[in-house]
């Protein structure tokens, strides 16, 4: 079985994101970019399935400008067998991404697509679901455990009420939650090996799809500053303070 993993480039989780001066976006110049953490988990899960003999090939795909090759190389160094770069100079929305991914899926015919439940930049949480719908295949979102057995996958999902376990027929789309696994570190020798792994580039319009964004961002603003906490000196002061605020 082949597994397709989607990797999105985002501003590194540790970076303090700044709105640009004219409030039309966030500052990305000189800012550390990384693989979306949920996508990193997706790749780790795919690699573990391959290592367990449940999959034979892991293909990583990313849509974005030339710089996303860095994240694809990281994916190859982590262990993906090959990578696909869909070149798009402009940012695209989830529906466009899902349409592109559908083309890839039709061409690659993977048994499983694993992707992050959301990207930490726009927090849309849509692409996986949209791809499943377009592809007309089952979806198992927010996975915290994934067991593949022949033609089915048993997926434990993190839902509001707790954990839900479902079984889906493959091929299917699985989106990852934080507790699914802890991604491995990248070994230096593997970075060297990754340089020799295939990384194919094709422009987004070669799929007959226009880079589009249905939603238009009107304004960007820094979140309001959090009020500073107060230090109390004793339990009794804490109780008193909580009473005053009516939480006790």
């Amino acid at each position: 079985m082949k597994i397709l993993v989607c990797l999105k480039q985002v501003i590194d989780y540790q970076v303090r994101v700044q709105v640009n001066p004219d409030a039309t976006g966030v500052v990305t110049d000189g800012v550390k970019m990384s693989i979306n953490p949920f996508d990193e988990i997706a790749l780790e899960e795919a690699l573990r399935l391959r290592e367990a003999g449940k999959a034979t090939e892991v293909v990583a795909v990313s849509i974005g400008n030339a710089s996303v090759k860095t994240q694809l190389r990281t994916g190859l160094a982590m262990g993906a067998d090959r990578a696909l770069h869909i070149l798009s100079e402009t940012a695209i929305d989830p529906l466009t991404a899902a349409r592109v991914l559908l083309k890839i899926v039709e061409h690659e015919a993977p048994g499983l697509v694993i992707m992050g439940k959301q990207a930490i930049d726009d927090d849309c949480n849509q692409t996986g679901q949209m791809l499943a719908a377009l592809w007309d295949r089952p979806q198992a979102t927010f996975a915290s455990e994934l067991l593949v057995d022949g033609q089915t996958a048993r997926v434990t999902r993190e839902v509001d009420a707790g954990l839900e376990t479902i079984e889906v027929d493959l091929p299917a789309v699985v989106t990852t939650d934080l507790r699914l696994n802890t991604p491995r570190f990248v070994k230096l020798p593997d970075i060297m090996k990754a340089k020799r792994k295939p990384l194919d580039e094709s422009p987004i319009d070669s799929y007959g799809i226009e880079a589009a964004n249905a939603a238009q961002a009107l304004n960007y603003a820094q979140p309001p500053e959090r009020k500073k906490g107060v230090m109390v000196d004793s339990i009794s002061e804490l109780v008193e303070a909580m009473k005053q605020r009516g939480v006790l």
């Binding site: 590194d12 989780y13 540790q14 970076v15 303090r16 000189g30 550390k32 990384s34 693989i35 953490p37 990193e40 860095t70 990281t74 160094a77 802890t182 491995r184 570190f185 990248v186 070994k187 230096l188 020798p189 970075i191 060297m192 000196d233």
Partner: protein
């Protein structure tokens, strides 16, 4: 309750004076093991005037004062075990001024180190003094111990960032030292006497710290090495080829204690006796390629066995935890902590001798090696075997000290690289400093504190 104590509480009510058992226990100790707190009371001055008042009261009544910061010190400098009055700087936690041009920040002594770091970052700047206890240690404590940490290799010690300070001497005089000037060739720079004085020359109330531009994007490598010689050979190579900001090392035993905490994963599957953690500037592929070259050359030379490199800042932070969590993870085992240094060039030879010494004389102890090895600083932690009493272990560590410090002396090293002398190391001062130097220190101390009220019994050995 003693009559003295009876009068202190109402006298300093406005400074939150207290003497309940919990407070005495909490404010009477620092992060060093084996301390027996027994202070008289704790007070919380709110400004320099309050501190002056405290000093005057202490002189009149012959009470000793123990300046107390974040109490993360590891040598017992902030321990109060002889009915001293603890002067906590906790309430002096305001940022007084930010000067974007210098750039510099002026803070009260009780401001937490991490607060300065965060403030600087919010201004697009950087305060580089950093270590595992930054979240609780205070600027006053940093200055009083001349704290070092993980970025000394590039950015130096606390001393290099102190532009000025306000300090109250043992006679209640308020000194404003250096006024945040960059250049000031007007005689002896008393500021530098205060830095590292461990609360024995004055109570630091305000500090102006220099800030700098943040480093460019960085990456962290953790590489496995077969022995300490190779850790040092790798250092020479990395220092040559990369722009380093940290070169740390830890032993596999140290790593195991961190992994036992259950929150971290090992860097790679194979375990090696030692690991080097390298933080370096890595803004583009060519930087990463240079790191790869360092790795493959050191692999060929047998310096390293395997290694990983961070691909995101989160991963860099995760790799750092392998080094930074060691101290906390072993603290419950009451380690006998050594913080020693020799010149980097002499380290390989020194380490070999040290290792042989410990093997020969103390095979019964688990020894945890880690430290800021790129600047010659080694944290050597010897763990108390579970079935040993504290007393028996303490006795044995006295003999270890004699052995280890003897070797440090032979190599003209330091018996306390960055943790100060406090109570725990003061009696070994002569292993690092000459009698003439120690005598001068005594005289200087008398000049600043003629009544001996400032942290008595700390830093200097009792005169014989």
């Amino acid at each position: 309750m003693s009559p003295l104590n009876d009068s202190i509480l109402p006298r300093f009510e406005s400074m939150g004076a207290r003497n309940d058992a919990d407070s005495l226990d909490k404010y009477g100790r620092d992060h060093s093991s084996f301390s027996m707190p027994d202070p008289l009371a704790v007070v919380f001055p709110r400004n320099t005037e309050d501190v002056v008042e405290l000093v005057q009261y202490a002189r009149e009544h012959g009470i000793a004062l123990v300046p107390s910061g974040g109490r993360t010190g590891l040598s017992g400098g902030a321990v109060a075990s002889h009915q001293e009055l603890v002067v906590s700087f906790e309430k002096m936690n305001k940022i007084i001024d930010f000067d974007p041009l210098a750039p510099a920040i002026t803070v009260e002594a009780g401001v937490i180190t991490a607060t300065v770091q965060d403030y600087a970052r919010d201004q697009g700047l950087f305060f580089p003094v950093d270590y595992a206890s930054s979240g609780s240690s205070q600027v006053g404590g940093n200055v009083a111990t001349n704290a070092g940490g993980i970025k000394v290799l590039r950015y130096g010690l606390t001393r290099d960032w102190v532009l000025g300070m306000t300090v109250v001497t043992g006679q209640g005089e308020v000194l404003k030292l250096n006024n945040a000037l960059v250049k000031n060739a007007t005689g002896l720079d008393l500021r530098h006497l205060m830095i590292g004085s461990e609360g024995t020359l004055g109570l630091i109330t305000e500090v102006t710290l220099g800030l700098t531009s943040p480093p460019p994007q960085q990456a962290v490598m953790v590489l496995g090495c077969p022995d300490m010689d190779q850790v040092m050979a790798l250092f020479a190579r990395a220092r040559n080829q990369l722009t380093l900001s940290a070169y740390e090392f830890f032993s596999d035993k140290a790593l195991q204690h961190v992994l036992d905490g259950g929150q971290s994963q090992p860097p790679f599957d194979e375990r090696t006796p030692y690991y080097a953690l390298i933080e370096f500037d890595c803004t583009d592929d060519s930087d990463q390629d240079r790191a790869l070259a360092v790795f493959s050359n050191s692999l060929e030379a047998g310096e390293v066995v395997d290694g990983v490199i961070s691909q995101s800042d989160s991963q860099a932070a995760e790799l750092w935890t392998l080094r930074e969590h060691i101290s906390e993870r072993i603290s419950h085992l009451l380690p006998h902590k050594n913080d020693i240094a020799v010149r980097v060039a002499r380290l390989p030879e020194f380490l070999k001798k040290l290792d042989a010494l410990l093997h020969e004389h103390y095979p019964q102890f688990e020894v945890i090696w880690f430290g800021h090895i790129g600047d010659g600083n080694l944290h050597l932690n010897i763990l108390k075997p579970a079935d040993w009493s504290i007393e028996a272990f303490k006795q044995e560590t006295a003999s270890i000290n004699a052995h280890v410090y003897g070797l440090v002396k032979e190599y003209a090293g330091s018996i306390s690289a960055e943790h100060g002398l406090g109570l725990l190391k003061r009696d070994h001062l002569s292993d690092s400093r000459s009698e003439a130097e120690i005598q001068l220190m005594r005289q200087i101390r008398l000049l600043f504190d003629p009544d001996g009220i400032l942290n008595p019994g700390k830093m200097l050995p009792d005169p014989i």
